[in-house]
Symmetry: C2
Subunit: 206 residues, 2 copies
DNA sequence: GTTTGATTTGACCAAAAGGTCAAACGCACG
DNA sequence: CGTGCGTTTGACCTTTTGGTCAAATCAAAC
């Protein structure tokens, strides 16, 4: 790879193709399961050519992961402390569910990484992620204090949104094996909306 | 390996040690990520010695997986159509949560397999698992028909129990990174019980 | 159109990893 | 206490895989 100058058109195209191919392969096979050859041919390149753009398999993985983390937390960041509590939470859940439907590879890449102990992103989890969740949990707590939502453990509430929505991407094959023909994303939104409305609607005032 | 006779004490001990070590390694690294050497040394054996008991890495993995599937569905099987609906569902959720706490390796092995497309257990999912879920979903449906629980999509209800409980095992490092010192399993049972009580308590009679 | 730097490739290397085998070892039973 | 079968191992083989390199090719600026 040439020095750091403005990337040529070819560089842009090939780097993008590599990252996309790598997302495909890493999300489907995990880091160790993926081979450089697989990624290269999925990107339409030879292995040495791929390694002309990235110095190593590790580097490709790091790049894909960095790109993912960049957007992964956006839905939670967008939870607005000034908004209507229940609607904000429902909107967050919907955004996460849409990500499971539209970006399942990203979800599975993340799942692969976490399930195997998050060796490469443990830092981000305990700093950036923790900080963000702490902040939003405080918002949820304040809403409960104000009686605007029912009081539940705010961290577990957030975990529940993660697990319920990501399940449809990460465990896709299981869900589809059980549902048969039915599209998982047909009934999921309504089910989850009902669930969170019933969980969080504040008790009637005395 | 000698012919199929009654297994000697040494055979029993070593096979058990291998399966336990393999569960350790496979659940932490996935199939491709695990090496036969790792499993062997985790079991306190040399690689050729391990391969004296199992013919291949695949065979070890199959054995571990088979052992897992054998018990993985027990909690759902135990859901009693004759029991009190809400209590039956809560008890099922609790059993699954206990499995996440007590058998996290098993949960992660399963998660690894599913996330990567379940190449080796797809059959079981679309036959045994589907059949069991169909059966229990019908029970849930009947309970809703009788007005004994609120009506929700029975399949998604089951998915929700899977995802909410397994999350604590599969995403353990993330949960702990966010919670800091707090034990995830301290508040989870109450949170989940509240969630399902509010979701499923039938609407007051008119 | 030639030159220069970017891009691509075939050939190659070394390490890792799954698996084999013959020989050595050891336990238990006659 | 020796023999036979179950067990263990060191040495070795082959394939896969991450990575290198020099040479060939291509694109575009001059």
């Amino acid at each position: 790879m040439p020095a750091d100058r403005a990337p040529t058109r070819i560089q842009q195209k090939n780097r993008a193709a590599i990252l996309d191919a790598a997302l495909d392969v890493f999300s489907a096979q995990g880091f160790r399961g993926a081979t450089v050859d697989q990624i290269a041919s999925a990107a339409g390149l030879s292995k040495p050519n791929l390694l002309y753009y990235f110095p190593s398999k590790e580097a490709i993985h790091a790049a894909v992961l960095e790109q993912l983390l960049d957007t992964w937390l956006d839905p939670l960041r967008a939870l607005d402390p000034e908004g209507e509590p229940l609607e904000e939470i429902l909107a967050y859940m919907r955004r996460k569910l849409e990500m499971s439907r539209d970006l399942p590879r990203e979800s599975r890449l993340f799942a692969n990484e976490i399930v195997q102990g998050a060796p490469r992103i443990h830092d981000v989890l305990s700093t950036d992620l923790k900080q963000l969740v702490d902040e939003k949990a405080a918002v949820l707590e304040a809403w409960a204090d104000a009686g605007r939502i029912a009081r539940v453990h705010p961290y577990h509430l957030i975990f529940s949104i993660w697990s319920l929505t990501q399940h449809y991407a990460d465990f896709d094959v299981q869900v589809r094996a059980v549902l048969g023909d039915e599209d998982p994303f047909a009934a999921a939104p309504e089910f989850l909306e009902t669930l969170y409305r019933r969980l969080l609607t504040p008790p009637a005032r005395a």
